[in-house]
């Protein structure tokens, strides 16, 4: 099983992003996803900057996949997505059916990201027929659910399977920017204020129970998913990739430890409920 690094879902300054991926290039992480998957207003890095980083990572021997936008709202966003997929020269992670459509038409192999609703074998086989080479299991599905999908095809699947193994899972996307709203400013004039929250903004109940992380238009789990104890199980099931969703420079060290087969430090507020078939926020 390979350890992969998911796309950076937060908005960081350009220098920090470059520093991060330069470190990734020097690491032993074999699979790297990168690109803006959350909000087109985030323009610290232009698409050509991502391509520069992608090329650098590829030269360092990584398998590089360009992650694409999850929520498209304007015709120009679709035109831009199409241009990016057709010209980037890399495989892509589709996070919306728009990306699937473009990759399918252009015969570019693609990965289906977590925000695409692949809940059963027949849907996955359809995607595979269209060019899907790997799918990232939707975050709310359990080990049992996935096992049934695999078993129903005779125990193996004709494409790779990636599990969101570590980090704050994305739970929802909205037209509304919750970070801007919290700061009392309009989305159209947001000044990309989310740059002030490199791990999102923690939201908790009135009993101070951590609940959500606001990441612009994306809402994430406040608890950090940690399925590192289940890696052996996952290997036995035939899962090919374990995704770490980066939240700081330390995510790179964490990946290195898992690659070496070492235990990792538990997050402060861990959860694994989805994988165990319970409420996502639970720790089973």
């Amino acid at each position: 099983m390979k350890i992969s690094l998911g796309p950076l879902l937060y908005f960081w300054p350009k220098e920090k992003v470059f520093e991060f991926y330069q470190k990734v290039a020097q690491s032993s992480i074999p699979v790297v996803y990168l690109g803006e998957a959350v909000c087109t207003r985030r323009r610290q890095l232009k698409f050509k900057d991502y391509l520069e980083l992608a090329t650098m990572l590829k030269q360092a021997g990584k398998e590089v996949i360009i992650s694409t936008l999850a929520l498209l709202e304007t015709p120009s966003e679709f035109t831009e997505l199409k241009r990016q997929i057709e010209t980037c020269g890399f495989e892509i992670e589709a996070n919306d059916l728009a990306g699937v459509h473009v990759a399918k038409e252009a015969h570019i192999p693609f990965t289906c990201g977590t925000s695409i609703n692949n809940y059963n074998l027949a849907s996955l086989m359809k995607m595979h027929q269209w060019g899907m080479k790997r799918f990232v299991v939707p975050v709310e599905l359990s080990k049992d659910w996935l096992s049934k999908v695999i078993v129903s095809n005779g125990g193996t699947l004709p494409f790779e399977v990636e599990v969101f193994g570590h980090g704050h899972v994305p739970l929802a996307h909205s037209a509304r920017c919750f970070t801007a709203r919290h700061k009392g400013i309009a989305k159209d004039n947001c000044e990309t204020v989310c740059i002030k929250y490199p791990k999102g903004l923690l939201t908790q109940t009135q009993e101070e129970q951590p609940l959500l992380r606001l990441n612009g238009i994306q809402t994430q789990a406040a608890a950090c998913t940690d399925l590192s104890d289940d890696i052996e199980d996952m290997k036995a099931m035939g899962i090919t990739h374990f995704r770490i969703s980066p939240s700081s420079m330390r995510s790179i060290e964490l990946a290195e430890r898992l690659i070496k087969g070492e235990a990792i430090e538990k997050p402060l507020n861990p959860c694994n409920g989805y994988w165990k078939g319970e409420a996502g926020m639970e720790l089973a």
């Binding site: 609703n117 903004l201 606001l214 789990a221 989805y274």
Partner: protein, 333 residues
């Protein structure tokens, strides 16, 4: 413009048709649809009755099969599709790829509407669904501004249906896991958001609270009216702010009466009223107002004005007794 109304039972269905609905959408009494609540929805026999009533009245029935088939249980969803075709439903509302594929190949004559749970917001996604499964119509998620709806309608390869009134989902539908994060059940998997068995209302001293699977969603004084506890409409603190606020959205309903002319000009095919879980009284009130508004608009599009009495009638059946234009209005975003 079609007026499409919800029905959770035969009484609501008849009420909707009598009050002026052109078509009604409904679901079966199981988890094949995203409003799977106890005491709600239609058995096969009731569905047959519903279709027969609709045919007599010259109206239409759309069957909602918009959850995602569970591995090893897929046959239940396929059976629902076959039954709708056999009984003569006028269209299916579907989200799952494999189910669209099945319905399209097995019953090519049966019109397919892409459910809002498929979360299609753009030309690429709509083109894919049109080319592969020949969908006739797509229901748009409540994430586009009015301008974005208009722009998409200009280039869409299929008819578009929009939400006109009702409870407001503020997330891209079909991709929201807030409910399953807290309760383990989501519209996609279990067939409902914030299922009632996880909901608790509590009173202590002069305070009242709502909890969802023991997670505190809101707390207030007893004289304040509180909404049904869904995660997106809770009152929370942040790491920067101790005073609790509705961080995502407050309890409110969507009401687009004032946008009717713009939706008409954009060529929107159907206006959807949310609320299969609501009472026949709600269905009647809302359907009457919208029938009146659409007829007024159609009679004289240029002079249409949204009437205060319509808004007042709708506010009475709205969550928190307030309404919003939601994402249609840029400033809401």
């Amino acid at each position: 413009m079609e007026l499409l109304c919800p029905a959770g039972n035969l009484a609501a269905l008849k009420t909707a048709f009598n009050a002026g609905a052109d078509a009604v959408y409904l679901g079966l009494k199981d988890d094949t649809n995203a409003r799977s609540f106890a005491g709600l929805n239609f058995s096969p026999k009731k569905l047959q009755q519903a279709i027969s009533i609709a045919k007599q009245m010259g109206k239409q029935i759309f069957l909602t099969i918009n959850t995602f088939p569970k591995p090893t249980e897929e046959h239940r969803w396929y059976q629902a599709v076959d039954m709708a075709a056999d009984l003569g439903a006028d269209a299916l509302i579907v989200a799952d790829l494999s189910l669209l594929d099945y319905a399209h190949s097995k019953h090519p004559q049966l019109p397919l509407h892409l459910s809002v749970q498929a979360s299609a917001t753009n030309l690429g996604a709509l083109t894919l669904y049109k080319e592969e499964f020949n969908i006739e119509r797509a229901v748009l998620p409540r994430v586009l501004s009015m301008k974005q709806v208009r722009d998409l309608a200009n280039i869409s390869p299929v008819d578009l249906e929009v939400f006109a009134f009702g409870s407001l989902c503020i997330m891209a539908e079909g991709r929201c896991h807030l409910s399953s994060y807290v309760t383990g059940q989501s519209p996609n998997t279990g067939g409902s958001c914030s299922p009632a068995q996880h909901v608790r209302w509590e009173e202590k001293g002069d305070k009242q609270s709502t909890l969802l699977n023991n997670v505190l969603i809101d707390s207030s004084s007893k004289d304040e009216q509180m909404g049904y506890p869904v995660v997106c409409k809770g009152r929370y603190q942040t790491e920067e702010q101790e005073d609790p606020e509705f961080i995502l959205e407050s309890p409110t309903s969507l009401n687009t009466l004032s946008l009717l002319p713009e939706l008409g000009k954009a060529g929107i095919a159907s206006l959807k009223i949310e609320g299969r879980q609501r009472s026949p009284a709600y269905v009647e009130q809302v359907t009457r107002v919208w029938r009146n508004a659409i007829d007024t608009y159609m009679a004289s599009p240029e002079s249409y004005q949204c009437r205060n009495e319509w808004n007042a009638a709708l506010a009475k059946v709205s969550e928190g007794q307030t309404t919003t234009l939601g994402a249609y209005e840029r400033s809401w975003q």
